[in-house]
């Protein structure tokens, strides 16, 4: 068992899936000899050859559409989009085709593809490189949306995504690619695709996060603990379908919650979480549901990025305010 970074565990899961199943293909821009701009596909070309690892021309729309055709033919394409800011040309193929090929043909054809990409900010990247597109995808029936927040969860969730018979959007938090190392066993064990992870129990308040915000929420919980506030942390991990049962169970216990979202506030995934609690957990609430998310502005250029992103300090402050509500 090795201590791996998140990007290494993505690489490990890809290699594992390819070794296990000859139908699994990797394709995308620079995924071959370059090993991907973040090295997520490093070594795969050498190991599996150019018929399993395909460097594509520069065409995201095309990559998505190709994957639909490959998947309909029984392959399990795992396509990489270089940054989530370049996934928008794929939306038409994902919405109009990938997510509904099974529905349209009453199961005759299906689309077991994975579209994986780095997502989110925190790396002071140039414009268009810090997007959080999860909410768009989480509104598309027929799709699954998965966002791992640790190396081990990345491994297990990516294996599950690749094995799933339906299309999966797999968003890898760029800022976590090399942030921490974790022991990851290459045991081929997938994680469930519809289960949130309760990372830390908490009696007083529940912090709900996903992707790059999870470590911030955990840090905030530490801070709060030192102040005598017992905050629990949930990593949603699978954003579609969303495991509201876990969320509702935790929030029912604490009666208070902060939903942490990196994307601009309006219409983000946090709204769905809040709505789900408001519909089914209202009676247990001791304080208003709190969403912590940046304003409705475009992710700023790097110099102002820190002022844009939610962080542990802001999460802790929001939790304190929510605790203060009576």
């Amino acid at each position: 068992m090795a201590a791996l970074t998140l990007v290494q565990s993505v690489n490990l899961a890809l290699a594992r899936a390819m070794a296990d199943d000859p139908r699994v293909l990797v394709l995308g821009e620079d995924v071959g000899i370059d090993g991907g701009v973040f090295r997520a596909t490093d070594g795969l070309l050498a190991r599996f050859g150019p018929e399993r690892v395909l460097d594509t021309p520069l065409a995201e729309l095309g990559i998505a559409g190709l994957a639909v055709g490959l998947a309909a033919q029984g392959f399990r394409p795992v396509a990489e989009i270089q940054f989530s800011g370049f996934v928008y040309p794929c939306i038409d193929q994902i919405m109009n085709h990938a997510a509904r090929l099974r529905t349209r043909t009453h199961g005759r054809l299906s689309c077991p593809m994975v579209l994986r990409m780095p997502a989110g900010g925190g790396i002071r990247a140039v414009e268009h490189h810090s997007e959080c597109p999860e909410a768009m995808f989480a509104h598309m029936p027929g799709l699954r949306v998965v966002v791992p927040a640790s190396p081990a969860r990345a491994y297990g969730l990516l294996l599950a995504a690749i094995r799933d018979p339906d299309p999966v959007i797999f968003l890898e938090p760029t800022r976590l690619y090399r942030a921490v190392r974790e022991e990851v066993a290459d045991d081929g064990a997938a994680l469930p695709l519809d289960r949130a992870f309760s990372l830390r129990p908490g009696a007083d308040i529940t912090l709900i996060a996903w992707g790059g915000m999870v470590p911030e929420a955990l840090a905030a919980a530490e801070t709060l603990a030192a102040e005598g506030i017992d905050a629990g942390v949930i990593d949603l991990a699978t954003l579609k379908p969303l495991d509201m049962e876990t969320v509702l169970a935790e929030v029912a216990r604490t009666g208070r919650c902060v939903i942490v979202q990196e994307a601009p506030v309006s219409g983000g995934l946090g709204a769905e979480v809040a709505a789900g609690i408001a519909e089914r957990g209202l009676d247990q609430l001791l304080a208003p549901i709190r969403r912590l998310a940046p304003p409705d502005v475009v992710v700023p250029a790097p110099r102002l990025e820190t002022a844009y992103l939610p962080d542990a300090a802001r999460i802790a402050a929001a939790a304190r305010e929510t605790m203060a509500y009576t």
Binding site: L61, G62, G69, L70, H97, R102, T103, R108
Partner: protein, 362 residues
Amino acid sequence: MPATRIAARFEVRYTRLLDAEGKAAGPLPGFARDPAALVALYRAMVLTRTFDAKAIALQRTGRLGTYASSLGQEAVAVGAAAAMAPDDVLVPSFREHGAQLWRGVTLHELFLFWGGDERGNDFAGPREDFPISVPVGSHALHAAGVALAFKLRHEARAALCIFGDGATSKGDVAEAMNFAGVWTLPLVFVINNNGWAISVPRAAQSAAQTLAQKAVAAGIPGEQVDGNDVIAMRAATEAALAKARAGGGAHVIEALTYRLSDHTTADDASRYRSDAEVSQRWAEEPVARLRRHLEGAGLWDKAAEEALLHETAATVEEAASAYLATPAQAPDSMAAFTYAAWPAALAAQRAWFAPAPAGTEG
């Protein structure tokens, strides 16, 4: 080395084998000397046109949804499909009823689909063929994916993708052609250039002199074929598919034809084009052309024609009746194919499909 030199040269050829009178414009391909093969093409075009008329009639009386007629373009669809091997894969647009029928999609399935029932896409016959693509041009990429699958599995199969003149303006099509070129994919693109994209004439779609030359951008060969000449269509497609299956790569065929009908039953073409233009194009239409050819070759006569029309009408009527007698599915079927299995997390949502509570109304 001079300051300027030619770096590359291209040309686009045009082929017609039967003229508008059905006379051979030169030597015909082998299959055209086989009476059974010619009659099969003719029957398929007549069936397509009969289906078309019935579909329009059903739509006009509120028993079918908006429908896209293929009137006048039967040779494109039938000729191309007739060139396919059974295990090739068809990735069609929405005006290739003739191709779908040739491939084994049933009349009943076609009626169901156009009648608003997804079971019409669950083809019992060509299980790997794609359903029609309503978003124009977006399916060209699926065809590239399918062709790539064949290539990666080292199968001697090819994909055939059909779309309209309007579709050639879409970036999806350009990307698909580029993939097909750079990876030498076994993929034949057939452009049904019927002169119009709803109200937009071909000339307003692109300054390209031919649409076949879209292929040049992708480094693959492109040619024009008389799309009202089913023999030329089948011959050109056969050659392209054979080359593709043999590893020779992709090919573009621009079929020059004409949309004799409105765009769909929701359209009124008289708003944007003259009756005179349409009448004139009737002289070129493919069904009469092949009939004249068959007659000239002594393979067809009035009796054969009447028998065929009679038989075809009966077949189509029967399928229409069966369609009309097919009840809609239960609402819950909507969720049956969203995912391979409906997610447990969404279990409660299915209550939506329960029958409405009796005695209440809004």
